[in-house]
Every structure is written in C-alpha cells, then in structure tokens.
C-alpha cells in the first residue's frame, strides 16, 4: 500500500526534524541548566571576570569552600538577603489575586453570557482593551492619590489631617517592578 509506505518518513526528513528539535531543546533548556549549575558555585566563578570556563572547573569554589559544589548561594539568598520574605509576599499576592479574580471573573462571565442586554458587548470590548493595556499605564493615575499626597500643595492640608510626616513612599518603585 502506498499509505503504509508514506508513513515511513524519508531519512533526510527524520534527520532534519530531529536535529531541529535538539537545537530547540538546547536553546530552551541550556540557560536554565547553566544557571542551576552555576548556583552551586561561588560568585567569583559564575561571574568570573578572568575566564568563563571557571564556572565549569570551579577553581574559586574549591579555593573558597574546599568543595566542588557549595550551597553558600542558597544560604545567602534565603537567610542573609531574606529572600523568604519576598517569597512570602509573592505567595500572599498570588493567593489573593487568584481567589478574587476567579470569583469575580467566573460570576461576571456567567452574568455577561446570560445577559440579553447590549452593554454586555461593550463590557467585552472594554475587557479586551484592558487585557491588552500594560499594567503600568494604570500606575500613573493611582500613584498620586496613594503615595504622593504630601508632594502636592493642594493636598497638603489633607496630609496634615492624617498627621502624616512620613517621606513620600518611594518604595512604590519596587511595587511597579512586581
């Protein structure tokens, strides 16, 4: 049968497909494997200014810690730099956001789908536009009322009412990055 003959891929096609896949897997996975490997080395090796092969041979890691692999990096991140605090913050945001958006999203989606009124279409359009908007476009609108009240003369008396003498919250930079 010609069908069964055609199911066999010709050799050149096999080679082409498989080498393409291997190339892609290398591209996709190599950065992460490299970083995972480097995370067990000391900084002087992984970000070596002398020679990038130090990350492979681990010269400085052996010199500094006496072993080929070290977990100093993890200790430094979790304990010294308090990465656990950031992880906890992220967890809080994730749980809250997923719960709230799923609750409102499913209820609202159901209501919109059942609604016979014309506004449902406009809500859909607006939702599409909002989905496409960079989150940061909303920040400039909210930054002022939330964080910069005391910078602006017109709002100064408001600030006195709240007894705020705190410096303007420049920590907002960090929020934007998140």
């Amino acid at each position: 049968m010609s069908a069964s003959i055609q199911d066999q891929k010709p050799l050149y096609l096999k080679v082409l497909i498989n080498s393409f896949l291997v190339l892609w897997l290398l591209m996709a996975a190599f950065p992460f494997l490299w970083t995972a490997w480097g995370s067990f080395k000391v900084e002087a090796d992984f970000f070596s200014k002398a020679d990038w092969t130090n990350a492979l041979t681990g010269v400085m890691t052996i010199a500094e810690s006496g072993e080929y692999f070290t977990t100093d990096g993890y200790h430094g991140a979790w304990v010294q730099e308090e990465f656990w605090r950031a992880a906890l913050n992220t967890l809080i945001v994730v749980v809250a956001t997923v719960c709230i958006s799923l609750t409102f999203g499913t209820l609202g989606g159901y209501a919109l789908a059942r609604s016979a009124y014309r506004y449902a279409f406009w809500v859909l359009l607006i939702a599409l536009v909002f989905r496409a908007m960079p989150p940061i476009t909303l920040v400039s609108g909210y930054l002022l009322p939330f964080f910069l009240v005391e910078h602006v003369g017109a709002f100064a008396h408001l600030d006195h009412c709240f007894g705020g003498d705190q410096p303007a919250v420049h920590a907002v930079d960090a929020d934007i990055v998140l």
Partner: protein, 248 residues
C-alpha cells in the same frame, strides 16, 4: 508646549517627531511586529516535530520546551543577560564565532534591539507550541487518510489539512501575543537596555521612578498607549462587533 516654542509648522513637525515617545513607540511596534509572527511560526514547527516523536520522548521534550515560558520573564531575561555579557558563556561564544573579541551585545542600539527581539521570540514561542500541539491532537485523521490515498505528499497534507485546521487557533494566539508583546517591559529592565531601547511600558516607568517624577508625562504616555492598544486591536474589535454585536 512644542507647539508654542516652535517657529513654524516645519519646526514643530521636526520637534514633535523627535520626542522620546516616538522612540518608545517605534521599538514597541517593531518588537510586536517581529516577535508575534516569528514566535508563532517557530512554535508551529516545534509542535510538528514533537508530534512526530515516539511517545516516550514527548513528555520530557514538552517539559523542556515550556521552560522559557514557565520561568518568570524577569528571571529568564536576567539569566540571558548574564550569559550574553561579554565575559559570559554566550558572549564569549559569539565573539569566537564571529572572530571579534571586542564584540559586546550591550554596546550598540541595533544589537540591543536584536537581542531583545530574539529574547522575545525565545520566551514566547513555547506558548504557540503548546496551543499548536493541543490543536494537532484534534486534526481529523479521516481527512489525512483520504489525502494519503489520493497520493498527497507529506507537505501537501500539512498545507491543505493541518494548517487550515489550525487557523482559528492562530487568530486567537495572534490576539493574545500582540497584547502581550505590546506591553513588553521585563526584558528591558533585565537587559538594562533603557539607553538603547525603550518600550512604552518602560518609558512610563522611567517617568514615574526618576528623581523628579514626571507625572503628567507618564499620564500622557499612558493615554497614548491605551489609544495605541485600541488602534492595534481595532481589526479584532471590528470582527467581534460583526460576530457578536449584530446578533440582536
């Protein structure tokens, strides 16, 4: 403001087109226009390749293919940023391949744009891959079989049966990807590329986070960005209008 200072229409025009906003706009548009189709095409070929693998190999291949998408963009971009440093593993590799020991991807604007776009394709094609891979599982086998009986070549089967089957998925994916690429932000921060390439998002961010906060500039850029989004989405919006809005 430029209008009042300008000494004539031509002068105003040249001032207006030199505004940094247009730099941000042109990068964002270039990024969106290049990354979206490239990522979709690459993802399609990966999906075709994975679909032809033996079952045992598919699981690990899919997992590793998804890595660039799963990892937070900020972290993924940062990892690549370390690697393309002129002393990093990829930077040194490129210097060896091109035979130019002074090559630095971070030094020139075109190189930075190319790097950002390559990063964009790298990080967003897994999404296209997953969607296409799911779509390939539902390709009607009857049509494929009859095409084979009619003597259609492998390429003809793909072109006339598989691709038409995947067109609706492509529309959906293009929509999502255009939205995502239009708000590109993390790679620019991670690659430290503000000097060479600004996207609309990073432009607003810079306005807000600088020493003097340019709130009105940020707000104006935000509004212009939203208008840009609406223009970019207008084909889809009109289509939705036809499909949905006129039903009643």
């Amino acid at each position: 403001m430029a209008w009042q200072e300008a000494e004539g229409f031509g002068d105003f025009f040249s001032k207006a087109t030199n505004l940094p906003f247009y730099g941000a706009m042109s990068f964002t548009l270039t990024y969106t226009a290049v990354v979206t189709p490239m990522a979709i095409i690459l993802g399609f070929f990966i999906a075709l390749g994975v679909n032809g693998l033996p079952k045992l190999l598919r699981g690990p291949t899919i997992f590793f293919s998804l890595l660039p998408m799963i990892v937070t963009p900020l972290v993924g971009a940062l990892i690549l940023f370390w690697m393309i440093d002129s002393r990093g593993v990829l930077g040194v590799g490129l210097q060896n391949i091109l035979g130019d020991p002074t090559l630095s991807l971070k030094a020139s604007t075109p190189m930075m744009w190319v790097t950002l776009i390559v990063y964009g394709i790298w990080s967003s094609c897994p999404f296209a891959f997953v969607v296409y891979y799911a779509g390939l599982q539902t390709v009607p086998q009857d049509s494929i079989e009859s095409a084979k009986l009619d003597g259609a070549s492998r390429w003809q089967q793909t072109w006339h049966i598989v691709i038409p089957h995947l067109v609706p998925l492509t529309t959906f994916m293009a929509l999502i990807k255009i939205m995502d690429n239009f708000r590109v932000f993390e790679p620019i921060v991670s690659f430290n590329a503000e000097a060479h390439a600004q996207s609309l998002s990073s432009f607003i961010y810079n306005d807000l986070s600088g020493e003097t906060q340019l709130l009105s500039s940020a707000a104006a850029t935000s509004v212009l960005t939203i208008i840009g989004v609406v223009i970019l989405l207008s084909p889809v919006l009109v289509r939705t209008w036809r499909d949905y809005g006129n039903q009643r």
